[in-house]
Amino acid sequence: MLDDLKNIKNHRFNRRKFIKNVIASGAVISSGGYMLSGCSDNSAPISGSVERLIVLKVNGKDRPVDVMQNETLAMTLRYKLGLTGTKLACDRGECGACTVLLSGTPHNSCSTLTHSVRNRDITTIEGLEQEDGTLHPVQQAMIDELGPQCGFCTPGQIMSGVALLNKNPKPTREEARQALSGNLCRCGAYDHYLNSIMRASRIS
């Protein structure tokens, strides 16, 4: 039994060696990595760590970045592009903290493969503010209504709110409630978040 296990493990290592060979044969491997850093000076990249240079359109700018095949958009944004406003709280599409806009619609970036959004407009929380420093109406309303408490889920809540107002500029409170229902907030700041969305819809 134990021997079988060892064989399985050896097999795993063999698979890694295979990947190493792929890299040696010319696949692009580099990393401006953040959390995933170390790949560049690491002689033993791990499974799925083959990176390819792609260009992402993030907050209106072209951002070249080396991306692994199995890498999620949240990983790329946070740990490679340094856009840490996109939060990871569950990493499996259950909490909404990582919500970003893909061509205007909200997505869980933790459950989106980076390679699949090469041709999309990606908007993160960092991209909402205008160049002259004017806040997005939803952001401004969050200040006026004291939306955030600990602030961790706030970027995701704002992105969901922005997506709602893009589609439905004058939502009812009930519609706003539904739109935010995928964004968990343990501080329970929902009432103030809803007040903020409703204020933003009145103003904009």
């Binding site: 296990l5 060892k6 990595g33 959390m35 995933l36 850093s37 170390g38 790949c39 690491n42 002689s43 033993a44 791990i46 499974s47 799925g48 760590s49 946070r78 840490t84 406003g85 939060k87 990871l88 709280a89 569950c90 990493d91 259950e94 909490c95 903290a97 929380i125 960092e126 503010e129 806040l135 952001q139 969050m142 200040i143 006026d144 004291l146 939306g147 955030p148 408490q149 600990c150 602030g151 961790f152 889920c153 706030t154 970027p155 704002i158 409630r177 935010l180 229902s181 964004n183 968990l184 907030c185 343990r186 501080c187 329970g188 700041a189 929902y190 009432d191 103030h192 978040y193 809803l194």
Partner: protein, 779 residues
């Protein structure tokens, strides 16, 4: 009152950074050459470790180190110490079993750390963790407090009989028993206080760094108090986690994504990264994934209660007797044994005059994740017991539920009032606040609304709770305030923000007292090097303790500047008064601003060399007494009997939170707290199966309140100033949680009562409600 004074709805200074995505939480920090730690955890709730094979993991390329407990002990990383544990009924000190940082001979809960891997990347560390081979011998698990221990099964700790850590009591047993033996009416109730996973949205994360030149460590982690955490690590009362001297450990606390009690505590991973940073010689980061958070963050609540109330025939309360079991989990976390005992039981008498009371609690060790403080920490459990009991008494005696409360309330003129369990309440106007709430909730016309609902085939219920909470616990809080040459004011705070808005609150108090614009004031928190001392945030104490400390430090600072002002104004100190940011000579009216006084201290021509540059002073606020926020929650619901689904019709909160610093921030705290209280009443429960596996360790399975399953609240308050602190504030962090759970539960029970359906336990989920209704309709 100035524009930053008490009661002003100042916008929060921290919000702009949060909503731009610029908040800096632990996982947002990246140190150069940072490595990654992954914990290999136990899949069993109770098992012997026969052997651990690390060889495959160690051989993996990119792995920098693989360690077990023996490695830690050799380096002086000893254990996770407990803090307060109460003595037993017999008065003897309790033998608390050691909690190793990594399990050595035995695992005692699913998710318990066994070994660690440090690697260059997170993915390598994760892969290598799968290669660790542990040979277990399974033992019978004891995942719940009622499991019978047979003679042939091994207890969780050999030294602890029947898994009972301590049997504790409070109150006067003889007198209470005597009243019960003669009572005309006795009402009793069995309750389960469901187990809650705190689930702060920011998963715990730690980055440790070791400096070999100075043999010192820097620890970055989102905690509720950096000084407290350091104290637990480096030692307190002879108990310590590691052989590290306090001056060799700097704890930095960045933004914290919610604490709820849980982030107070010292966890395995905090110590593991510290150890690894020295062993590897590079910074080490660990971040919990959500499953790890469910498995290894301390849980809350989890009690079984039997409570009895002795009454006179006309509904006057005479005595209270409560017997509980409290789950402490597999090991005793810092306050783990205190929460079900000392922390909350004193509040069991609620707001009522009860002649005598007695409570006994058995604290039970189980094969589950350790439990500790969760928002309210013992007080919500007590409020739930007394408020459910009072409702049941009212129903059985056929007295209106508001009236029975009024009949037994402590009257305003009776304060200070000492309860039968020894709590000394400072102030309160319970009857008035209850009346305000019932009026706004149209309590007296509920019967009409119920008839209307019944016509539509719906069940309607209304429930209330009158909660009281004790806060401001902990002895002191520290503040240092300094005014620099550029006119900036720096407040160093011992209490740590984790969502409440400390940066705004303390700056608001200082701006008002010093007469300085808020944008000149910076609040520094969470750094043991920059801040002299501190206790931390918890027990709704930050404003009562930290806010009062800010106020007294400001006043001390103003006095300190008086001599400089006197020189500048060419007057004597006794002729100078301070108002709106200026020192002023009473007779002539000539003035100098506080900022100019601070700047002048740098001027060595006017002042001698020995005058201290800048204005700076520290003070410590000693908390002599607790404060007692209280209030009334009234919840009206409708239940669809076909599905058991609840919809909220109305939710009224009428609070006495003492004087109000910032109504908007207060509202956030109360509503958020109420959301968590409703979560416990209706949705949340961390469920362990008979094998000790947590069966709902994800947000998909564990129902947390969302935007669409909480009501909109109708929140009001009456300001009854607390005499216990300079600001007159009482504390708001936990009040909502304490009040909401019993109010919502009472509303559901009230709806079920209308068709004589059996009461159910929390969480009162649609399936439980539906079953209860179905059974009632059958019979």
């Amino acid at each position: 009152m100035g524009k930053f004074g008490m009661g002003q709805p100042i916008r929060r200074v921290e919000d702009e950074r949060f909503l731009k995505g610029f908040g800096e939480y632990t996982d947002d920090i990246k140190l150069s050459d940072q490595t990654y730690l992954v914990v290999h955890r136990s899949p069993y709730a109770h098992a012997k470790i026969k052997s651990i094979d690390l060889s495959y993991a160690k051989e993996t390329d990119g792995v920098l180190g693989v360690f077990v407990n023996k490695d830690l002990e050799e380096e002086g990383f000893l254990c996770i110490p407990h803090d307060v544990v109460p003595n037993g009924i017999d008065g003897n000190e309790v033998m608390v079993p050691k909690r190793p940082i990594l399990a050595q001979d035995k695992v005692r809960y699913v998710g318990e750390p066994i070994a660690i891997i440090v690697a260059k990347t997170l993915n390598i560390a994760r892969d290598a963790s799968e290669l660790i081979e542990v040979d277990f011998e399974e033992l019978t698990p004891f995942p719940n407090m009622n499991t019978e221990i047979s003679s042939n099964s091994e207890p969780i700790f050999k030294e602890i009989k029947n898994n009972e850590l301590v049997h504790w009591s409070m109150g006067n047993k003889d007198e209470t028993d005597k009243i019960f033996s003669k009572a005309r009416k006795i009402i009793s109730i069995n309750l389960i206080n469901n187990r809650i996973a705190p689930t702060a949205l920011e998963p715990r994360a730690v980055i440790s760094e070791y400096d070999d030149l100075n043999d010192s460590y820097t620890l970055r982690t989102g905690s509720q108090g950096s000084h407290k955490l350091r104290e637990w690590i480096t030692g307190k009362n002879g108990k310590k986690a590691a052989d590290i001297k306090p001056d060799k450990l700097r704890v930095i606390c960045p933004d914290v994504g919610g604490g709820f009690g849980m982030k107070n505590f010292l966890f395995n991973e905090t110590l593991l990264t510290l150890f690894a940073s020295k062993a590897i010689g590079k910074p080490v980061k660990w971040k919990a994934d959500r499953t790890e958070s469910f498995l290894n963050d301390t849980h809350g609540r989890d009690q079984i209660n039997f409570a009895e109330l002795a009454l006179s025939e006309d509904g006057k309360f005479e005595a209270l007797r409560v017997s509980s079991k409290g789950n402490v989990g597999a090991y005793v976390s810092q306050f783990g044994a205190m929460i079900p005992t000392m922390a909350g039981c004193g509040m069991l008498c609620g707001c009522y005059k009860i002649k005598s009371a007695y409570v006994d609690v058995k604290v039970i060790i189980t094969n589950t994740t350790p439990l500790d403080a969760y928002r309210g920490a013992g007080r919500p459990e007590s409020a739930y017991i007394i408020e459910r009991l009072v409702d049941k008494a009212a129903d059985e005696l056929k007295i209106d539920r508001a009236e029975i409360r009024k009949l037994n309330f402590i009257e305003p003129e009776e304060f200070p009032f000492e309860t039968a369990l020894g709590m000394k309440y400072d102030s309160g106007e319970y009857k008035k606040i209850l009346s305000l709430a019932t009026k706004r909730a149209n309590w007296n016309t509920f019967a009409e609304r119920r008839v209307e609902s019944e016509k539509r085939g719906m069940l309607r219920g209304i429930g209330m709770s009158y909660y009281i909470e004790a806060c401001g616990g902990g002895p002191t809080e520290f503040k240092t305030i300094a005014i620099k040459i550029d006119g900036s004011v720096i407040i160093s705070s011992g209490s740590q923000n984790n969502g409440q808005g400390h940066e705004t609150a303390f700056a608001q108090i200082a701006a008002d007292t010093l007469g300085i614009e808020m944008d000149k004031i910076e609040v520094i928190m969470g750094d043991t090097e920059k801040i002299e001392a501190g206790i931390g945030t918890g027990g709704s104490r930050a404003l009562a303790a930290g806010g009062s400390a800010t106020l007294s430090t400001c006043q001390k600072l103003i006095n300190k500047g008086k001599s400089v002002a006197a020189t500048l104004l060419q007057s004597s100190e006794d002729k100078i008064i301070f108002e709106n940011g200026f020192y002023k000579i009473m007779d002539t009216g000539s003035t100098v601003s506080l900022l100019d006084v601070a700047k002048a201290t740098y001027d060595k021509k006017t002042f001698s060399e020995d005058i201290e540059e800048g204005l700076e002073t520290s003070s410590e606020q000693v908390m002599n007494a607790q404060t007692f926020p209280n209030g009334c929650h009234i919840c009206e619901i409708e239940i669809d009997p076909e599905t058991g689904v609840i919809s909220f019709i109305n939710y009224i909160i009428e609070d006495d939170i003492g004087r109000i610093l910032n109504p908007l921030m207060l509202e956030g705290q109360i509503l958020g707290g109420a959301g968590q209280g409703i979560g416990q009443a209706l949705y949340e429960e961390a469920i362990y199966d008979n094998n000790g596996q947590l069966v709902n360790g994800s947000f998909m399975d564990y129902i947390m309140p969302r935007a669409d399953n909480l009501p909109s609240f109708n929140f009001n308050y009456t300001e009854v100033s607390s005499p216990s602190n300079k600001l007159g504030v009482k504390g708001a962090g936990e009040a909502g949680t304490i009040g909401a759970t019993p109010a919502v539960a009472n509303a559901v029970i009230n709806a079920l009562n209308s068709i004589n359906a059996k009461p159910i336990d929390m969480p009162m989920t649609p399936i439980k409600i539906w079953k209860s209704i179905k059974e009632a309709r059958k019979s």
